[in-house]
Symmetry: D2
Subunit: 361 residues, 4 copies
C-alpha cells in the first residue's frame, strides 16, 4: 500500500523535503483519547537536529492538527498532522537533479518515477519525512501508555562506541523517556559524540545500532502466518531510511547457540506464565508471550558526506564525480531513535486493536 | 491479513501438521505460464527431511494442483496446491496439549486461540506448513526465471561452521540450484553435518544463518515509504518459523562503517548504471538499483530438543518439566533454505507485477 | 485483492467448473465455534439444482474440510473447504473455446487472461464457484446465530411474479430458514415455477429480485468513509454472478420521496433508540443503527439459453451464430438466494470482528 | 480500510465540516501527469452550492496542494490537497450535540465513537467531506482523459422530474463536461429547479437519480471474483452520503427480462468485438468488455429539513422533537454529480494501474 501502513490503525505519510509541507494522516485511532500537544512537541524535539552533531538545517517542526481532534480528544476519525517546511535552501541541490548521490535514493527514484520526482533534498525520500511518523506516533505512544505499555530505544552503538544493554527494562525505558541523547550508560554519550565529531571533521559520517524494548505487551497478540509480530514490526522498521538490519531477541546470536541455550524455559510466577530468559524477544510463533518485546536495528552511516565521490551523470550516463553541498547530518542514529519508538507504537497499537477491537471506534 | 500475503500476487496458506492436508492458494499469477510439476516436486524434495540430520517423519509431499492450471499452464485464476499428511503419529503429542514446549508457539497459540488450536505437532505453527510456500514458490520461481531473475540461498553458517560468502553471484546461484545441502564451499558440508550430528547425539539442536542473492532484478522496483523492498521481504522472511534476524547488504556491519566506506560508488558500464560495491544489497531508498539483492536470515536452533526442559502446566499454571517425544529435526537451516528461496520469489514477483502490470491477467 | 475478500475474517475462493475441485479458504474465524457439518450440507442443498427448474447437472456437493477444525470446533486458523467436481461433461463445451456466449464472461475472460483461461463451463466464472461461498458462509451464519443475528433472503420477484415484502422480519427470517424455494407468500411459488418452466419451454430464461433482511445487528458497526456497510455489502453482492443492482432500504424509491417521508423518525422504546420506519435499511452514515439491515439484489436472467444467438468467432473476429449445448438453468434466482445469505454473513461477521475484536483468535 | 480506498491508486480522506480544514491524500498516481489547477478549481466549482437551490453556506473551496506535485506535474508520490473551512457557524449546532437528526449519521456516529465525534455540522460525515474526493478526482479525470477515457454523469431524475437517458454516449459526455446543472435535455433543468424550490418552500427536500457513463474503457479490466468492476465501483459509490442504490446497465430492469432480451449479442465491427446492445453496462463477469460502462445511483433526499421531526435526546434516551437550524441544501443530487464522476475516475484509474502497471511510478 505504498505510503499507507496498518490495518485497523493506519498511517499515511506525505510530503517532500523542500515542498510546502510534510505530514501524516492517522486513521483508526480509538475515539476519546486525550491528545497532548505538548507531548507531541516534546517528541518532535527529540527528532530535531541539535548542536554540532546534527545538520545545520533548523526546522521549527511545529505540528498543526487539522482534523480528527475535538475538545482535546481523538474523535475516532482521521487525524491529520501538517508540518510546514521553512528552512529550505533548494539552490544547494541544483547538481543533484542529474548526479545521483551514492547511498541515496536519487538514482532509484529517478528510475522509478521516470525523472518526475522532486529531487530537492531527497524529496519524498528525505529523512525529514519521518517527522510525520513522530507526530502520529506520539498519539499512539500516549494511547499505549494509558494501557501500561511503554517503549524505549537507546543507541546501543554509534561510531564504534557501545552503550550497555538493557537490564531492568521497565526502569531503563523510564530513564530513556525524553532524554535528548538516548544512552543508558551516560558515560557513553560523550564518546559517541566525539566519534561523530571526528567523522564530521573528516567530511564523513558514522552508523550505529538502536536497541528497543517494549514493556507491558499482553500475551496472544500477532496474526501469523504472515502478520507475525516480527513481520509487521520489521516491515515498519525497514521503511525508516538507513535501517538495513532488524533482529529480535538474541537475533543473529541464535546462529551459534544450541536449542538448549536458546529455548527460554517457562516459569509460572504468581500464576502468570513467564520465561526465565528472553532470547525470543517476547515473541514465540510470531505471537507475543507477555515478556518484553526486544529488537535491534542496524542504521547505516548517513550517505550525505562531504568527501568527493564517484557517480554517474544521469543525463548522459557518463562517469563523473560529485561533491555534495547542502547541510547534512554526520550521524542520524541519535535522531532516528524516536522514529523507531514512534513506528513501533503505531504498529503495536494496530495489532492490539485488531485483537481487542475498538468499541468506541 | 493473517494467512494471506501479497498484493497483486498473493499466497494464502492453510493446514495443520497432523490434519488431513496442508497447502496453499496462489492468486494473481500471470496467465499462460508453464507449470512444471517435476520442478515443483524437485523443490519439494529440497525441503524434505533427508538422512540422519533430519526428522524421522517421512512425508511423500506429493503436490496435487486442483485449480488454476489448464493445459499445463496457469490460467490467471487461483492455483490451489494440496499436500496430504500421511506419516502422522499424534499419540506422541498427548502431553503437549497442556505442557507448552519452550521456544515453540504452543503457549502463545494457546493464549491467542483460547485453547481451541490444534496442538498436535504444533498444528498450524509447525514448520511443515512451509511446504505450501515451497509448492507455490516453485511456480513463482519459474515465472521469474523466464525473465532472467534467479534466486539462490546457501547455508552461510550452521552449528558454528561457516561457508564462504557469495563471490560471482550469477554463477553461485547456478551452482546452488537443486543442491540438496546448499553450501558454496563443498568442504563445509561435512563439517556442518558433523556439528548437527554432535548436537543430535546430545539431544540438542543447532541454528545457523542463510544467505540469499537475487540476480537480475531490474532497477526501479519497490513501493516506499512502507512497501520498500526491505519491508516486504523482511515481512515475508520473518513469517518463516525460526527466522529471528534479517539484514540486507552489509546489514549490521554498517554500524561500524563510515559513510565513505558504506556508500556504493555509481559507475556507468556499457551505458548501464551500476555500483562498484554492493553494501546496500541492491536496494537504495527501498527501491531496487539493478544490482543483486542480497540478504541474510538468522535461524534459531530447532526448539524441539530431547533434553528435559522446564515448563508450565497450562491446566493449573504450575511449574513442571517436559521431556519431548516425537520425531524432530536437530537442525532446520538446511531445510529452511528452499523456503527462503520460495517466499523471496513470491514477494519479488508481486512487486514486479505491481510495477509492470499483468496484461494477460 | 482478486479472489480474497474481507479484512479480519476473509474468504479466498478457488476452482473451475470442470476442474478437479472447487472450494474456499476461510481465514480469521474466531476460535472455538462449533462446526456443524449437517448444517453445512443443509446449506449446500439449498444451492443445488433441484427438479425441472434447474440444470440437469447434478453434483453431490460434498464438502470436505481439510484444515482449521479440530474436535468439531474452529481452531482460529484457516478453514479449507474442498468440493470435488464429479458430473462434468466437458465435451459439450468444445465450441465455446472460441465462440463467446452472449451475457457470459467468455469474451472478457479471454481478453483478460490472453486465452489461457479454462473456458470449460465458464471455468472460474461459473456460478458453480459460489458453492465455496455457501460452505464458508455456513460457518459464518452459525457464528452470527450464536450472537442472535439471523439472515433471510426471499425471492421478491421471478419471471415477473412477485412475492410479498418482509413484514415481521424476525418471524419471516425464521420461516425462510431451510426452505428450498424461498418465498414468504407460498402461493407465489407455483406461479414463479410456472414462469420459469414457460421460459424453459421457449429455450429461454428469467431474472428476478432477491430481498434480504438481517435481524439483530447491533448499532455502531461499519467503517466509513470507504467501508460503509453499504460499501462492503455491495462489494460482496456484486461479486455474485448475475447481480446487476443493489439497493438498501427504500433504495431507488428514495428518488421520488421528500425528506420528510424518507427520514426515519427516532423513537426511544424501553430506553433503546429505534426508528418508527426503516427506509434507511438499518444503515445511517454507513453505520448500522440497530434496526434490521435490508437490501435487494437485481438478478439478470441466466445467459445460457438454447435459442440461437449472434456472436463473434474469437479466432478470426468474424460474426457467427451460436447454439449453446450443455446443461443450464432456466433461472438461478432461487439458487442464488443462499449465496446472498452466505456472503452477507461473511461480510457482516468481518465487520463485527473489526469492531469487537477477536479475543480468542 | 476505513478512510483509505484503492489498491495501486488510493485516496485517503480527512476532515470535519467545522474543523480547520478538510482534504485528501492521493497516493500511487503515475508520475509525470500534468496537474491543472484551473481544472481542479473548475471541478470544485461544480460541487459548490450555487443560487437558491443550494445551502446558504458559501465556501471558497480553494485547493492547496502541499505535496506530490513538482514543476506542474505529479511526482508519483502522495499528493495532498488541503481545503480550509471558512464559512462555519457552529453556534447553529448546539442542540445537535445530543439530539440526533433523523436520516443523518448523528446517532450512529455517537454510538460508534462513544460520543467523542465532532458533531458540528455532521463532522466527518458531512457531505462537505466530498470536496476532497472532487479535488483528488480531478487529477484522476485528467489522467484518464489523456488515455481517451471520459466520464459523464447527469441528473436522470430529481424531485420526480426526469431527464432523457444517454443516447450518443461520447457526445453526451462532452455536452455534460463543465455544465453547472447536469441535464441532457435542457428543458428539464427549469422543471427540476422548480421541484427543488417547491420542496424548499415547504421546509422539505427532494431526492433523485444520477446516471453515469464512462467512454473508452478498454476490455479486460477488473479483478474477479471479489474485485469485479461492479464491486469496486459500488464500494466507492456507496461511500458517498445519500447514495442508497446502485445498478449497472439494465440493473433492476433485468428482473423482468428474459435471457434472450437481456443478452447483448456480440458483433465484430472493424475487427473489434462489440455488442449491439449494452444491457450489461459494459461489464461481463465483472470485467470490462470495451463498451461504455453505465450505471445509476439512487440519491435519497437531503435529511436536513426544516420541518419539526421526532427524535430522541441521547443524553436521557427520552423522546423529543427537533427543529433543525443551520443552512442546508433542499437537494444535493445536482451537487453530488461531480462527486460521482470523481470517485468513478479514482476507482477506474486504480483498476487500470493494477492491470497495466505503473512503469513511471
Amino acid at each position: 500500500m505504498k505510503n499507507t501502513f496498518g490495518n485497523s490503525v493506519a498511517i499515511t505519510l506525505f510530503g517532500e523535503s523542500h515542498g510546502n509541507a510534510i505530514g501524516a494522516v492517522l486513521d483508526g485511532m480509538p475515539a476519546g483519547i486525550p491528545v497532548d500537544e505538548d507531548f507531541i512537541a516534546r517528541q518532535m524535539s527529540l527528532r530535531k537536529s541539535v548542536g554540532a552533531i546534527s545538520t545545520a538545517r533548523k526546522e521549527a517542526d511545529e505540528v498543526k492538527i487539522v482534523s480528527g481532534v475535538f475538545n482535546g480528544k481523538t474523535t475516532g476519525t482521521p487525524i491529520t498532522f501538517i508540518i510546514e517546511n521553512q528552512d529550505t535552501r533548494s539552490r544547494d541541490y541544483g547538481e543533484l537533479a542529474y548526479k545521483a548521490r551514492p547511498g541515496h535514493a536519487d538514482f532509484t527514484a529517478n528510475v522509478k518515477y521516470g525523472g518526475s520526482q522532486d529531487f530537492r533534498g531527497g524529496g519524498h525520500f528525505s529523512g525529514r519525512i519521518t517527522a510525520g511518523i513522530v507526530a502520529a506516533g506520539a498519539v499512539a505512544i500516549s494511547a499505549l501508555k494509558a494501557h501500561g505499555i511503554t517503549i524505549g530505544t537507546h543507541i546501543l552503538s554509534c561510531g564504534g562506541v557501545y552503550d550497555r544493554e538493557f537490564q531492568d527494562i521497565q526502569a531503563d525505558i523510564g530513564f530513556l523517556d525524553g532524554r535528548e541523547f538516548a544512552v543508558l550508560d551516560t558515560s557513553a554519550e560523550e564518546k559517541m559524540k566525539e566519534a561523530i565529531m571526528a567523522a564530521k571533521a573528516d567530511g564523513d559520517s558514522v552508523g550505529g545500532i538502536l536497541e528497543t524494548a517494549v514493556f507491558g505487551m499482553p500475551a496472544g497478540v500477532g496474526e501469523p502466518w504472515f502478520d507475525t509480530i516480527e513481520s509487521v514490526l520489521s516491515h515498519a522498521l525497514f521503511s525508516i531510511p538507513a535501517v538495513k538490519g532488524v533482529e529480535f531477541g538474541a537475533g543473529f546470536k541464535f546462529a551459534e547457540m544450541r536449542g538448549s541455550q536458546a529455548n527460554d524455559p517457562f516459569r509460572s510466577i504468581d500464576n502468570k506464565v513467564t520465561t526465565s530468559t528472553n532470547n525470543c524477544g517476547g515473541i514465540l510463533g510470531g505471537i507475543t508471550n507477555g515478556m518484553p518485546v526486544t529488537f535491534r536495528c542496524a542504521v547505516k552511516p548517513t550517505p550525505s558526506i562531504y568527501k568527493e565521490q564517484q557517480t554517474v551523470d544521469l543525463t548522459n550516463r557518463k562517469n563523473t564525480t560529485l561533491q555534495i553541498q547542502g547541510r547534512h547530518d554526520p550521524a542520524i542514529v541519535h535522531r532516528a531513535r524516536v522514529v523507531v519508538d514512534s513506528i513501533t507504537a503505531l504498529t503495536l497499537l494496530d495489532q492490539l486493536v485488531l485483537r481487542y477491537g475498538n468499541i468506541n471506534n
